[in-house]
């Protein structure tokens, strides 16, 4: 990244900001104010304008959210006039909020009536018993199934408190609970309420519009209302759809236009000025600096200057980070970005992820059949996805993974499990069904390579700052290799005479490790050895996958009928395929994030957010990365 300073005549600030926004490469920051340079600030009129713009943005965002659709704004549209935008956004927001409120009210009403429904017939029978309801208060109560005793107790308590001035009727409901209706004179209602609350009896409160009528009439009206509600809700939904149809595209246009305008107004606040000139500062990727200077030089007119702020004047902690990898590796940035971005000036692990991730995936899945299906799915996703979207990255990662799965499928001789062996496809390295030891050794050896690469990257990163720790980190890498070789010599995979010199080398390296990394280094080193062993999961998950495929194939002859057997086998293969894609993804991700990144990765970089024209997709991806 380069930090640049842009200077120009004060009266050209607005037009220059427009040009900077068009180019879309500079992340603006606030330069330090001095005696000569003071913040531009906004006058009362401008501050009022900013508030209005923010209000329109809020209105249009809320309206689009309530619409639930995200139409594309017209292409190459000009800016939408702000007064008209404010009017439309405000009116549509109010209209949609009213619709949403009505809809919510109806939903709540329906939920409340549905709460009563199991008791409808029970309360109706009670209501039909000729109770006169004038001047009395009615409580609708629900008692649990075993409430017989409770009912007696309550009746006794009511009699004690109210004498004979109450009526308590009960009826079993459809749900098995007891529906009860307690009628008391309005004057005694408070006493009865206190008694009910003391006894912990659940009272159903009627919706307001049904209060004050007889039981049967109330229930009849509730039933009618329940029948009417779906149509009322559908009418509101139709109205919302109409607004979406008529206003959606216009709102999307307003959103793009007003957010663009807001960005410009907010950018003005980042300018500092002298009496006649303005100064803007910002970050720009080094590779794009020349292009930026050329384009701004020609579009901003005379008097506009760009200079580079020397790196002594800024600290690495505040620099935004942009991952910049060759086209082939770029999809794998999605995996790196799932972690917080690396700090500026530290290692971007994407190229290593691009090599190791699909390779480990292929080593686990390792099947020509499954690999081909994955390739087909990835290809369809790639065709259907738009450029520069997460879906596109996922589809390209899927293609790389499927390629490695097919390659390792040939090396293991596997096509939908052992079907490959049956049709004469011989393994070129080993047969995973039998060769547990070679597969385990292969997995751990890969882990060794991966961890050593991680340690060396860590050493390279530290070499710029703390050379002693860098040597310690490098020594850890050497010791991992030496110990692995010593173990190979001990198990006679290497000539036995190498054993003693290798052990002596490890013992000599240990003090260097402690001097470099401190007294806790041996403990950390043991955990590094544990990290290497963790790669045994490649073998474990891979073996589980191939065994499942073998079991699926054996189902063909296991059910008497070939058709049933084939159907079961297909279903089992489908399940195995889903597990075979999901499981390696999780485990290989974990190997990268925990074992590999743990050796060198420094998270904490700030996302590079250049000042440019607003687009919904970029805004969404920015929100995700936050």
């Amino acid at each position: 990244m380069s930090r640049i300073r842009m200077l120009g005549p004060k009266e050209q600030l607005q037009s220059c900001l427009g040009c900077i926004q068009d180019v879309g490469l500079v992340q603006l920051i606030e330069p330090a104010a001095t005696e000569v340079l003071r913040p531009l600030g906004l006058n009362i009129e401008q501050a009022h304008h900013l508030r209005s713009v923010r209000k329109v943005v809020e209105d249009v965002d809320t309206a689009l959210e309530l619409l639930g659709v995200t139409p594309e704004p017209p292409k190459a549209a000009e800016g939408f006039p702000l007064p008209k935008a404010a009017l439309i956004a405000g009116r549509t927001r109010r209209q949609l909020e009213a619709l949403a409120e009505q809809s919510q009210g109806l939903e709540e009403e329906r939920a409340l009536i549905l709460k009563f429904r199991p008791f409808f017939s029970a309360f109706r029978k009670i209501g039909d018993s000729g109770l006169d309801l004038d001047g009395i208060r009615v409580f609708y109560l629900v008692l649990r199934e075993d409430g017989e005793q409770e009912l007696r107790r309550m009746r006794a308590a009511l009699r004690q408190a109210l004498g004979d001035g109450f009526e308590l009727l009960n009826q079993p409901s459809e749900s098995g609970e007891s529906a009860m209706l307690l009628a008391v004179p309005t004057a005694d209602a408070a006493k009865a309420e206190a008694l009910l609350s003391e006894a912990g009896v659940q009272s159903l409160s009627l919706p307001d519009q049904f209060e004050g009528e007889g039981v049967s009439a109330t229930i009849r009206r509730m039933q009618t209302r329940l029948d009417e509600l779906p149509e009322a809700l559908a009418a509101l939904e139709r109205e919302r759809a109409r607004v979406a149809r008529e206003r959606g595209r216009e709102l999307a246009w307003i959103q793009a236009s007003v957010r663009d305008h807001l960005a410009t107004v907010e950018a003005m606040e980042k300018a500092v000025v002298t009496q006649r000139a303005f100064v803007l500062e910002g970050w720009v990727p080094k590779a794009a600096q020349r292009d930026l200077e050329r384009r701004l030089g020609s579009s901003c007119g005379p008097g506009f200057e760009i200079e580079t702020v020397s790196s002594e004047e800024w600290s690495g902690d505040t620099v935004p980070v942009v991952l910049n990898n060759p086209r082939l590796f770029r999809p794998f940035e999605a995996i790196t970005k799932m972690m917080p971005l690396p700090k500026y000036g530290t290692v971007d692990p994407t190229p290593f992820v691009a090599v190791f991730f699909p390779m480990f995936f292929g080593i686990v899945l390792g099947d020509i059949g499954y690999g081909t299906i994955l390739a087909a799915i990835s290809l369809i996703l790639r065709i259907r996805s738009q450029a520069d979207t997460t879906l596109r990255s996922v589809s390209e990662i899927g293609l790389a993974c499927s390629l490695f799965s097919i390659i390792f499928g040939f090396l293991y001789g596997e096509l939908f499990g052992d079907l490959g062996h049956r049709i004469g496809l011989d393994p070129l390295i080993f047969n995973r069904e039998e060769a547990f030891f070679p597969y385990l050794g292969f997995a751990v050896a890969l882990g060794l390579v991966h961890i050593v690469v991680g340690l060396l990257l860590g050493a390279a990163k530290m070499f710029r700052g703390n050379k002693r720790r860098a040597i310690g980190k490098g020594m850890a890498a050497v010791m991992v290799v030496v110990i692995a070789l010593a173990l190979m010599a001990a198990f006679e995979m290497l000539p036995e005479r190498f054993f003693t010199p290798l052990v002596i080398t490890a013992l000599v390296a240990l003090p260097v490790l402690i001097i470099g990394e401190g007294i806790l280094a041996p403990i950390e080193f043991v955990s590094t050895l544990g990290n290497v062993l963790s790669y045994a999961r490649i073998m474990a998950v891979g073996t589980a996958s191939v065994m499942m495929a073998v079991v699926a194939n054996r189902m063909v002859g296991a059910f008497g009928s070939v058709v049933v057997g084939v159907l079961f086998a297909l279903v089992f293969h489908l399940i195995n395929f889903v597990l075979g894609v999901f499981s390696p993804t999780i485990h290989v991700l974990r190997l990268h994030y925990v074992e590999f990144f743990g050796k060198f990765y420094s998270p904490g970089g700030a996302q590079y957010r250049p000042f440019r024209h607003w687009s919904r997709r970029e805004s969404a991806s920015d929100e995700r990365s936050e």
């Binding site: 547990f436 030891f437 999961r537 994030y593």
Partner: protein, 75 residues
């Protein structure tokens, strides 16, 4: 000889069974906490996936040891 085989198979079963139970127990504690955390902060997805995947190392290493015991047994 047969009793020896019984113990070998039993130890293989225990080698994978006990770590699998331990993994299950650990994940049963992590899972609800992770779900609750995700409900409030969906951006923690990666951390949550990692936290859930970490105890699986136990079961996987147990499986590897069980395979080694079975190979020792000639099974």
């Amino acid at each position: 000889m047969q009793l020896e085989m019984v113990f070998l198979y039993l130890s293989a079963a225990l080698a994978v069974g006990i770590p699998a139970l331990a993994t299950g127990w650990a994940q049963s504690r992590i899972g609800p906490a992770a779900a609750a955390a995700l409900a409030e902060k969906p951006e923690l997805t990666v951390t949550v996936v990692l936290l859930i995947a970490i105890p699986e190392t136990l079961a996987i290493l147990g499986f590897v040891i069980a395979v080694l015991i079975l190979l020792q047994a000639g099974g």
